[in-house]
């Protein structure tokens, strides 16, 4: 059996990863079909039903403006997944470039890039996120850039180690001898070798990115109301915890299920790639 086939079989046998994948696929489908499956417009106000409990009319209840909680939870998936996906892509792209260039060039370039990365990693991610969000301002695009910046040093560190190991192997020396340019050496020979590991990390950090989005929106530094995100829905629901707990409860559960599904996939992928780490 081919290597890919063996990896796929190991992944399929891992029940946690399989369940995580199914749930994640369902969530992605729900995001794509949001206009079709959400019962109401997420901004539509039903003043007669303000703070209404879960009922046949509003399956997960309604908020203080009478907006349907279920519809807002479903529409939030789009924002969370978009922010998660694009921020991880930004971190992956810039971080990988930094790590590969540092490992490949060596010397002063390596020292400057990697020491900067080390210092940036000194700060807890959320605290860096809060600072960067405060500088860039709120909004979906700024949030994507903020979380992308936070993940950049992590990807840089991850790409740096393997680059150091690969840059002295025979085929790279051979490419160098026949006069390949630096760009060709990196793009054609180096990157394809380390990209698999980076993609696994990207899946693992997708959950972390969604969690970060929720946290920053909760703190009022992410996507601002009235646009629905789980973080800002939980925050605005806190004013009515005793009389309308569903306002915070359901967006919180949605966050938990989404992040959990991506973490389950990440765990499974890690098991497939490195059986020694199987836990």
């Amino acid at each position: 059996m081919s290597e890919k086939g063996r990896l796929w079989r190991t992944f399929k046998k891992n029940k946690t990863a399989l369940i995580g994948s199914i749930v994640a696929i369902l969530i992605i489908i729900a995001a794509c079909l949001a206009p079709v499956i959400s019962p109401y417009d997420p901004f539509e106000q039903d003043v007669a039903n303000r703070l209404g409990p879960p009922s046949r009319l509003h399956f997960l209840g309604s908020d203080d403006f009478g907006r349907d909680v279920l519809s807002r939870v479903i529409w939030s998936i789009r924002i969370s997944l978009t922010v998660g996906l694009f921020s991880v892509i930004i971190g992956l792209f810039i971080g990988t470039m930094m790590g590969v260039v540092a490992g490949y060039k060596g010397g002063i370039v390596e020292i400057v890039i990697m020491r900067t990365v080390d210092v940036l990693l000194c700060f807890p991610t959320l605290i860096t996120g809060i600072m960067v969000a405060a500088i860039l301002g709120t909004g979906q695009v700024n949030l994507i850039i903020t979380i992308g910046i936070i993940f950049t040093p992590r990807f840089a560190r991850l790409a740096y180690g393997p680059t150091l190991g690969i840059k002295e192997v025979e085929y790279l020396n051979a490419a160098r001898v026949i006069g390949a340019s630096h760009l060709r050496m990196i793009g054609r020979h180096l990157l394809p070798n380390i990209f698999g590991d980076l993609l696994v990390a990207a899946t693992l950090w997708m959950g972390a990115a969604i969690l970060m989005e929720a946290s920053l929106s909760f703190l009022g530094l992410g996507v601002s109301p009235p646009n629905p995100t789980w973080g800002n829905m939980i925050k605005s629901g806190m004013d009515n915890l005793s009389n309308a707990p569903w306002l915070s409860l359901y967006p919180g559960l949605a966050t938990l299920i989404t992040v959990l599904s991506f973490n389950m996939i990440g765990d499974g992928l890690r098991d497939v790639i490195d059986p020694k780490l199987r836990i």
Binding site: D118, P124, I127, A134, L211, I234, L241, G252, I279
Partner: protein, 314 residues
């Protein structure tokens, strides 16, 4: 442990601290608006802004401001709040114990429950309890801290009326302090338990595959002796270093928990400073956060050397 190792490790922390402070200084300088505009408002005249900037020393060259900033740090002079005009250092000293007690109690909670749970699940791999504990720990690290906090408030404060919903309590009144601390510490503690359980379980499983454990079993030692006498000590070495990493995560988590429980602390102070554009306070809080992380990393490395004989002998 050799004294040179400790001194060398402490000396390494100095340039790291300097780099952290430098990044904080420049990050805060790149905030939109600037401190003078923050104080006077967006519609203040240019002259008024310039006059206040001169008064605050913000018209000086950047490197002079930077040297002043570092010199102030050396003397524990963190400047004055732009909002209330009081020195920032005493305000930080007032709230820091709340953040520290929250973080430390969460670490203790995580270690007390996480390590035994991790060992137990590793020794009973693939049992029902193992699956339950793994699901719990994965849930613990996937759930936003603020959502755990809200759930605990709903159950213990609103439904059962056992603990206060908000505030940090009086630090000098043990009962009041503990009753305010319990739910926030439980919130972060559950997350910590999730991390510690996973690390311990994976570490114990790795060690149980090692040759010396096989040798110990082959020479007929009882399982209890193999596990507690041989395997466990080595399995816990990586756990200690990871506890340092998780402690840093907890510091970040404490920001959210302090906001949820309206609890005084560095995190709440930081969010308040950002909302009010109080750059002086923000800069100082970031300096304290950065220093805490560097100190945690230092303590982790030193404790690593203390418990691992291989590092101790180097």
């Amino acid at each position: 442990m050799r004294i040179q190792y400790i001194i060398r490790r402490i000396l390494i922390s100095v340039p790291i601290l300097l780099a952290v402070y430098t990044i904080v200084f420049f990050l805060v300088r790149s905030m939109p608006g600037g401190p003078a505009v923050a104080v006077l408002g967006d519609y203040a005249s240019k002259e008024a802004v310039e006059a206040l900037e001169a008064q605050m020393g913000l018209d000086l060259p950047l490197w002079v401001q930077y040297v002043r900033f570092l010199w102030g740090l050396l003397r524990w002079d963190l400047g004055r709040s732009l909002i209330n005009g009081f020195p920032v250092a005493p305000q930080i000293a007032e709230v820091l114990p709340y953040t520290l007690e929250l973080t430390i109690s969460a670490i203790i909670f995580g270690v007390i429950f996480g390590i035994p749970l991790g060992i137990f699940t590793a020794l009973r791999r693939n049992s029902l309890l193992d699956y339950l504990a793994r699901t719990f720990s994965l849930g613990g690290i996937s759930m936003p801290e603020f959502f755990i906090g809200i759930l605990l408030i709903m159950i213990f404060s609103i439904k059962l009326d056992l603990f206060p919903v908000m505030g940090g309590g009086n630090l000098y009144d043990l009962h009041d302090n503990l009753s305010h601390l319990f739910l926030p510490a439980l919130t972060l503690g559950l997350m910590m338990t999730g991390y510690v359980t996973r690390t311990t379980r994976s570490s114990v499983l790795n060690v149980l595959r090692d040759d010396y454990v096989r040798t110990a079993r082959a020479k007929g030692l009882r399982e209890r002796v193999v596990i507690y006498g041989h395997a466990l000590g080595n399995a816990l070495i990586p756990v200690v270093s990871f506890i340092g990493v998780y402690a840093i995560l907890l510091i970040a988590g404490s920001v959210l928990v302090e906001v949820v429980f309206s609890r005084p602390g560095l995190g709440k102070m930081m969010i308040g400073a950002i909302k009010q554009r109080d750059y002086m306070t923000l800069q100082s809080v970031m300096v304290v956060y950065g220093s805490m992380v560097v100190v945690i990393n230092l303590l982790t490395d030193l404790s690593y050397g203390l418990i691992d004989p291989r590092i101790r002998c180097k």
